[in-house]
Amino acid sequence: MKKFITTSLMALTLAGAAHAENRLDIVVQPEPPSLMLGLVSNGPTQLVAGDIYESLLRYDTDLNPMPSLATSWEISDDALTYTFKLREGVTWHDGKPFTSADVVFSVDKFLRETHARLRVSLKHVESITAPDDYTVVFKLKQPFGPFIGVFEAGTMPMIPKHIYEGTDYKTNPANNTPIGTGPFKFKAWEKGSYIHLVKNENYYLDGKPALDDVYYRVIPDAASRAVAFENGEVDVLPGGSVENWDVKRLIEMDGVCSTGHGWEYFAPHAMAWMNNRQGPTASKEFRKAVMYATDREFVKNVIWNGYGTVATSPVSSKTNFYSDDTIKYNYDPDKARELLKASGYNGETVRILPLPYGETWQRWAEAMKQNLEEIGVNVQVVATDVAGWNQKQAEWDFDIAFTYLYQYGDPALGVARSYLSSNIAKGSPWNNVAGYKNPKVDDLFAKAAIAPTNEQRQKLYTEIQQILVDDVPVAWQLEIEFPTIYRCNVKDLVTTAIGVNDGLRDAYLED
């Protein structure tokens, strides 16, 4: 009897493990709070909803714009007018046509109210008009180079006007069944288990998407996620899904491929805020000492298993206008000790706030603690969870606090916000948390955002980087690489600068 049960159970397990053809299983962690990309713009939401919603453009891995809902665009010679021609014959998932009225509504009304990040760019916009059903014109107040880079699915998703106009966006019942124009439609969401998307049969590109079903699997434990990939339950592990030591192991398995691409738009930049307002970190010498004392090559090679690039500037080397022409803080504990002495440090405890996102970050905090103790600083690593970490940054209750920020392709979009003195305000972990004040830098950032040519912008951003690296308000650490791990028979998964987030349009399974 026992044998019968075991055998039948075994048979069922084996039968169940093989997935239907043309189906892809991807891990999502943590479970997104919502799939309405216009209201919620966090990582998990974008991973799932990035194939439900679309924007006017997409970007390749060199950050060059490509057509999406817009087939062509023109920037006037004075760089003040952006004219987009929209694709004709596009329908929303409920069958209604997509037109320029939707674009104007999405940007001017909906996102202006709900999207904090886009609001910053919209400050430069004077007007948004639709001369006909398939043309949209953005008029700017002054030239704003980064503007061509904000037409991305997570930054400016197109929202159906006929569903949201005149309603309370946050409580609109359509939020539970998101309607977009994208290659995949929402089918079902078993909370705590999975989200199921199905192919949009009426998608405007012939033959796309190739996949029929996509399942986003919710698996809360990191080890379980690795197991899920190992025994075939999931096919794709987006960057950051498993701990670093598992990444190496999984990539070495047969039939497993990986890529570091697909993060160029975000360019996650790991750094540690240093409280410029109070404590030992308020002294520039102390901050320089921290930079010389911390061995970032070690962190990259040991804690990150070789993934990533040591950061040398507030701008990532993958972002436009990066400059290598800055002071280099090579690992030099002796120099660090000298600077520590010069700073007048008198032995008080310096608190390090680690990022509460897993073991790797915890070890990183401990590595920094070790480095700093070696040069004579008293260090305490603070215990925290996500909510506490958010709050401590927002309330400036830290000495050194780990974080990582996205760059969004252009220093005006992702970098300036951390260093502008106008961005100093309690209550958010995304502004100038360190409290750095430098009117010259403020002025340079303002000029660089609206400088009319790329050459001029580069000149200004180079100067900014030189000043910032010398003032070192923040301890830049690592340009993080989050490899996407997938089975080699999944093709064309990562072809854009946001990778898996909108890559399913083109992905297909090879036999």
Binding site: A116, G192, V218, V227, A228, A387, Q391, L405, W430
Partner: protein, 327 residues
């Protein structure tokens, strides 16, 4: 004291206890650093004062704490557990949706651990001192002492990865669209590892408790008397030893039954089981106050309920209890 008086007295105390728990939990949760707006803003990758103010207003956090408390308690009295902004649905619906998964897991584990624990405990007691007794008690000590999450992970490594007998995690085979009996089999298959993992610890507890209780009761005078009267070993074991020896086991079972709702956090997390325990932990991390309070409320209610039921079961087993007054 009649049974009706006993129950109504208990229920009144239960309501008061629940109320006090709600008050304590409410203020305790709000004392933790951060709030749901901070968490949502933190996940958004960008936030400004307007965004955070919008969130605070939406979540009702811009009102004074006492007002929030009053709103919450008035809601509870009308059986409205509030709205989860994180999950975008009413808390009661959310809990009812996740409750079955937890109950299937914990009831299975509970039943298994109770039955196996008692059976093996009796076996060990009957073979006291022999090598089979030593093996049973040593194994039970092993299961009792080993951390639950490690047992869970080792079970996955052995039974799922190496042997391929059972799925490594999850509640069901996703997207398989089974129907009828196939669904039942699928669920059972997914249930085995998590239920055993969760059950092994409690099985060890019941085993040792049963064993020592049986041994103690077997030494008592009334057992010797029964033997002297010439009763068969079977009847002695069933009517005299077992009924008395099981009293402490029933107490323990009653206490643990209260954990049927909230007690499987680790197991649910490792096995990606979509239950209440995991919901509670995730709500804590996200500072989803309403959901967290709702789960605590239901958990507390279960514990109180099972305490009352344990007392009632006691009366059935032991007629001396509840005789009240003079016996």
């Amino acid at each position: 004291m009649t049974i009706v008086t006993a129950i109504s007295g208990r229920l009144l105390k239960a309501v008061i206890t629940l109320l006090m728990i709600v008050i304590l939990n409410f203020f305790l949760i709000h004392a933790a650093p951060g709030d749901p707006a901070a968490v949502m803003a933190g996940e958004a990758g960008a936030a400004d004062a307007q965004y955070i103010a919008q969130l605070r207003e939406q979540f009702g956090l811009d009102q004074p704490l006492l007002t929030q408390f009053w709103n919450y308690v008035s809601g509870i009295l009308q059986l409205d557990l509030g709205y989860s902004y994180r999950q975008q649905m009413p808390v009661l619906d959310l809990i009812l949706e996740r409750l079955p998964a937890t109950l299937i897991l914990t009831l299975t584990a509970f039943g298994m651990s109770l039955i196996l624990g008692i059976v093996f405990g009796l076996a060990a007691a009957a073979r006291q001192g022999k090598w089979s007794d030593t093996i049973i008690t040593s194994l039970s000590l092993l299961f009792y002492a080993t951390p639950l999450f490690w047992v869970a992970l080792m079970a996955v490594v052995l039974f799922s990865i190496k042997l391929g007998w059972f799925p490594a995690f999850g509640y069901e085979t996703v997207g398989a669209d089974y129907s009828g009996f196939r669904v039942v089999l699928d669920r059972l298959e997914h249930l085995v590892l998590p239920a055993f993992t969760l059950g092994l610890f409690f099985m060890a507890v019941y085993l040792r408790m049963t064993r020592s209780s049986v041994l103690e009761v077997s030494q008592m005078d009334f057992v010797k008397t029964a033997r002297a009267k010439g009763l068969s070993e079977n009847i002695i074991r069933r009517r005299h030893i077992l009924r008395n020896a099981l009293l402490p086991v029933v107490t323990l079972a009653g206490l643990q039954a209260g954990q049927l709702v909230g007690g499987a956090v680790l197991t649910e997390t490792v096995f990606a089981w979509p239950g209440i325990g995991r919901l509670m932990f995730e709500s804590l991390t996200a500072r989803d106050y309403n959901t967290l309070l709702g789960v605590f409320l239901i958990s507390a209610a279960m514990v109180i309920l099972f305490n009352i039921m344990t007392d009632l079961v006691y009366r059935l087993i032991d007629p001396r209890i509840g005789a009240g007054g003079s016996s």
